[in-house]
């Protein structure tokens, strides 16, 4: 009996060693991300990459709002993925400064194939690039084409027209917008920061606010807050408890005419069979139209990876026009590659949204680059403003005070 047990144990141990022996042949990388919604599509992209090069990459996303903390924990403990999505600006730079993200400055194609505005999001002040730009998103207003046609209303091109259209819809008993404040992030990221470039201008103007030369209670900001307050009057009934995920449902089911959100949602309307379109946030009469085109995702390598060559090869591929074209085929709808080369999309609706950028001043979300500490105060103030608990003037003063704290004046 004892001999049998010993034999059994020996066989089991050998069986345990076998996978380790076979694994030594194929290189398997892991990729971390916050886009658990895109798991299927990105895995298809990575399978395509495997076809081209033989390197297998497994996509391992985490839930979006836990990504930063989970990734940090993994990197701290040495169990981080070989490749991972890098957030833009300060949040992503923090991981580079801590020594986790690879230096991508010398990856062929990174400095040459991307425009300055894209690289800026993943560059340190002294010019080191810490991630390869992967995708940008834009802030748009989705609208229900059928509802507009049925009620004989034209798609608005200025802010004043937007208000007029909202008023008309409200009188007919249709909610103009599907936005709420319960998710605590979309009122800032999608609505306010989406409309802000129309009032403040592009990156060069933003730099003046970041240095403290311009204050956040000046005319431009005050006008933006006043217009926001006017828009907030047309938020739906019970907006205090509407979340970001209720928006597509409301638009899709015909309960609301418009929904202010980001380009990443454009794939969800297919489930409802609704005829939808997208417009850029209209600027006030006479102002130069601008668009919030936000560099959102970069991909970078883990400095502690066991396969630096394969990781660098993947990053190089991403920075080539061919690599970018392939990724755009597999990228979920609404994410745009930032490479400086012509990209065609299979879905005409997606091409339409990207085309909204033409002829407009483009900028990233205002607070992302250097004013991220303004995020929470801004959300709190905007929430209060939508509920009518404060005035645009008071909010502008709070903004200026918080800005002074950060800029140090």
């Amino acid at each position: 009996m004892r001999k049998l047990t010993a034999l059994l144990l020996a066989v089991l141990m050998m069986a345990g060693l076998l996978p380790a022996l076979t694994q030594a042949e194929t290189v398997k990388l892991t990729m971390g991300s916050w886009r658990s919604d895109d798991a299927e599509k990105v895995q298809a992209l990575l399978d395509k990459y495997k076809e081209l090069t033989g390197v297998e990459i497994a996509f391992q996303p985490t839930v979006s709002d836990q990504y930063n903390a989970t990734l940090r924990l993994q990197l701290d403990n040495g169990t981080g993925p070989d490749l991972y999505y890098s957030r833009s600006y300060a949040v992503g730079q923090e991981l580079f400064d801590a020594g986790f993200s690879m230096d991508c400055t010398d990856i062929p194609g990174v400095k040459e194939n991307f425009p300055e505005s894209a690289l800026d999001a993943w560059q340190t002040p002294d010019g080191k690039v810490f991630a390869v730009p992967f995708a940008a998103v834009s802030q748009v207003i989705y609208y229900n084409k059928t509802l507009f046609a049925e009620n004989g209303l034209e798609v608005p091109t200025t802010f004043e027209e937007l208000i007029a259209v909202s008023k008309a819809f409200k009188e007919k008993g249709i909610e103009p917008f599907a936005n709420g404040i319960a998710s605590n992030w979309d009122i800032l990221e999608c609505v306010y920061l989406g409309m802000l470039p129309n009032y403040v201008g592009g990156a060069d103007q933003r730099a003046l606010y970041e240095s403290g030369e311009k204050k956040m209670n000046d005319e431009a900001f005050l006008k933006s807050l006043q217009d926001f307050a006017e828009l907030a009057q047309y938020l739906p009934e019970g907006f205090e408890s509407l979340t970001n995920s209720d928006g597509p449902a409301m638009l899709g089911l015909g309960r609301s005419a418009m929904f202010i959100d980001g380009s990443w949602t454009c794939g969800t309307f297919a489930d409802y069979g609704v005829e939808w379109g997208a417009i850029a946030f209209p600027a006030p009469e006479g102002a130069a139209p601008a668009m919030c085109f936000h560099p959102d995702m970069g991909i970078t390598g883990n400095n502690a990876t066991k396969y630096p060559e394969e990781v660098k090869a993947f990053l190089t591929w991403l920075a080539t026009p061919e690599g970018a074209q392939t990724t755009s085929t597999y990228l979920p709808q609404g994410f745009f590659p930032m490479i400086d080369a012509p990209i065609t999309f299979a879905d005409p609706a997606v091409t339409e949204i990207l085309a909204l950028n033409d002829g407009k001043v483009l900028d990233a979300r205002f607070v992302w680059a250097k004013l991220l500490n303004m995020y929470t105060p801004m959300v709190e103030q905007l929430n209060a403003l939508t509920k009518g608990e404060t005035t645009p003037e008071a909010v502008a003063e709070v903004f200026a005070a918080e800005q002074a704290k950060i800029v140090g004046q």
């Binding site: 709002d65 903390a69 940090r72 701290d76 404040i181 319960a182 992030w185 019970g238 408890s241 409301m250």
Partner: protein, 311 residues
């Protein structure tokens, strides 16, 4: 004769030199407890004296506690969460446990029919996952989605943004949690009531006591140990509550921190960090949990003393 006397003493052998064989039975459980509960807890207290994350920790002494109690923003959040958790606990003690007692008394009544059925119905919500309950109620309470249905049955006055208003959000979430967990005290009180000897109740009946007097003078005093135990369990689980807040509101305790509990405060500081930066401060998180541990101890020990061991 002598062999019988010898067998009464424990047999001494190599594994059992002092005769204390029971140690070997306890050892596995003791090891598990020390490794997975006691050590992490003590290490957490140690971590509260440090700043920074793995690999970059610096010793800062009590700076985290000082920050927790004196920094205007952090202490405002802490005391706000503390206050909200007490409100949450009050709902559970005054609504859940009282209802549990009421249900138990009704269910153990001699003339009650269909007891098994009602017991099952009361207990089923406890078996539903908290996240599922949270999301379902979030949909029911959503004015845009439940609105048309409610209006069509004439309940239009109920269509309000319950989870979006600072005044009602915490109360509503507490009531949902009460709905979910009322089965547990019910079950424990039923067990406790069934342990009361029939003779006592018969004697009370003969003495002419009505049902209220029977309850207040006989059932309740004998149930006091169970009440104490349930109070302690409720207290501890409320101070750990996080999943219902995550499901029905955001981990920020939206709207405007009114639904922020100690559990979600700890999550923000110790685990996930604040959106959008998302980098946690484990030192402050550990300070929060240590501070709450001592507060809980101060509440649990007197309650245990007051209610247990009364014959």
């Amino acid at each position: 004769m002598q062999t019988t006397v010898q067998r009464k003493t424990s047999s001494k052998n190599r594994l059992n030199p002092g005769g204390r064989y029971w140690i070997w039975y306890i050892l596995p459980a003791l090891l598990m407890y020390c490794l997975f509960m006691a050590y992490p807890m003590l290490d957490s207290v140690r971590l509260s004296l440090y700043e920074g994350t793995t690999g970059a920790r610096t010793f800062v002494g009590f700076a985290n506690y000082v920050r927790l109690f004196t920094d205007p923003e952090v202490s405002a959040r802490f005391w706000g969460a503390f206050r909200n958790t007490w409100v949450f606990f009050a709902y559970h003690m005054l609504v859940q446990n009282v209802l549990g007692m009421l249900f138990a008394v009704v269910l153990t009544n001699r003339t009650m029919k269909g007891r098994q059925f009602y017991q099952t119905v009361v207990f089923i919500p406890c078996t539903i996952a908290v996240m599922v309950t949270g999301y379902l109620f979030k949909l029911i309470l959503n004015p845009q989605f439940a609105g048309p249905t409610l209006r069509s049955v004439g309940l239009g006055f109920l269509v309000k943004p319950w989870l979006g208003s600072e005044k009602t959000a915490l109360n509503v979430i507490s009531l949902v949690s009460v709905w979910q967990w009322v089965g547990i005290p019910t079950m424990m009180f039923v067990a406790g009531l069934q342990g009361i000897s029939e003779d006592l109740l018969e004697a009370a009946d003969i003495a002419g006591a009505n049902s209220w007097q029977t309850f207040w003078y006989i059932k309740y005093p004998l149930l006091l140990p169970v009440v104490g135990m349930i109070a302690i369990l409720t207290f501890v689980s409320n101070f750990n509550a996080f999943d219902i807040i995550y499901a029905m509101a955001t981990p920020d305790g939206a709207p405007n921190y009114s639904t922020d509990l100690i559990g979600s405060l700890f999550y923000r500081y110790g685990v996930a960090g604040k959106h959008p930066i998302g980098i946690p401060e484990p030192g402050v998180g550990a300070a929060i949990s240590t501070a709450v541990f001592f507060m809980l101890l101060a509440g649990v020990v007197p309650t245990l003393r007051a209610t247990q061991g009364k014959e």
